[in-house]
């Protein structure tokens, strides 16, 4: 739309250089969305490989064990921490999206901190135990 000289729209009137907070842009809304996307794609590609490696049980016990033993190395052990971290975030933030859609968008920011909190607690339960399993063998 052509801008008439001398008038300011509401956005230009704000003192901030950034657009005013919306649900999705610039703040927690945007970062949770970016992370949700990245983790979703990562899990998808893992799942493609994971179904192929599981399918080796139909080839031979030796073939399956050879590949699954790769999951037990220290480097892959750290990769599994990253994978579980991605899934736990995607899962909790997915529930947050569902609550925003069906319950109340007003609490989206509070819910984001709840997601972060639950993520930290879950990872504190998982990571030490997993690393012990990986590094003590």
């Amino acid at each position: 739309m052509p801008q008439t000289a001398g008038t300011l729209d509401s956005q230009q009137k704000t003192t901030s250089r950034r657009p005013a907070g919306t649900l999705y842009r610039g703040n927690t809304g945007m970062w949770s969305w970016v992370l949700h996307r990245i983790t979703g794609v990562a899990i998808f590609f893992f799942l493609l490989v994971h179904i192929l490696d599981t399918a080796l049980v139909r080839v031979s016990p030796e073939a399956y064990n050879a590949v699954i033993s790769q999951y037990q190395t220290p480097i892959m052990g750290l990769g599994e921490v990253a994978l579980v971290g991605a899934i736990v975030f995607h899962a909790f933030n997915g529930l947050r999206i569902i609550l925003i859609d069906f319950w109340n968008a007003k609490y989206q920011r509070v819910l984001f901190y709840v997601v972060i909190g639950l993520w930290v607690v879950t990872m504190l339960g998982f990571v030490p135990r997993h690393l012990i399993n990986v590094f003590s063998h």
């Binding site: 739309m1 996307r37 979703g40 794609v41 899990i43 998808f44 799942l47 493609l48 179904i51 192929l52 599981t54 399918a55 049980v57 139909r58 031979s60 016990p61 030796e62 399956y64 064990n65 699954i68 033993s69 999951y71 037990q72 052990g77 599994e80 579980v84 899934i87 899962a91 997915g94 529930l95 999206i97 569902i98 859609d101 069906f102 998982f126 135990r129 997993h130 399993n133 990986v134 003590s136 063998h137």
Partner: protein
Amino acid sequence: MTSTIEAPRSPRTPKGPYGRSTKKSGVNWEKWGWIYMRVSGVVLVVLIFGHLFVNLMIGEGVSALNFAFVAGKLTNPFWMVWDIIMLWLALIHGGNGMRTLVNDYATSRISRGILKVAILVSVVALIVLGTLVVFTFDPCPAGAPADLVASFCKSL
């Protein structure tokens, strides 16, 4: 998704996004996809957290995984059903999510088409493969070394 925004109150254009007709087609597939993402998501939280807990947290976790471990699970109808539902829900959820990304980032009609066909083909192929693996699994393959298969194979 690129679509031009018309000036307010301009008459309806006959073509929608991607040059498709805006006429109602009966079923609103986008809406059902949206609902599917949410319903499958809730179920997947339970299935995937359970999968990860049993395979990574119980006992020696990832270090205990091998052919005999899988044999113990895939001869149990409970875990067979669990894995099948998880397989179908996760692949369709992930595939539909990837379709959203293609709509958002692929710029030409042709690249969108190619990428969506690639997603569809991989999802269908892996659903078929994963389902066959669960239903045709043989815990005691003939001639397999006894120390690699489950202990219950001895009594056969």
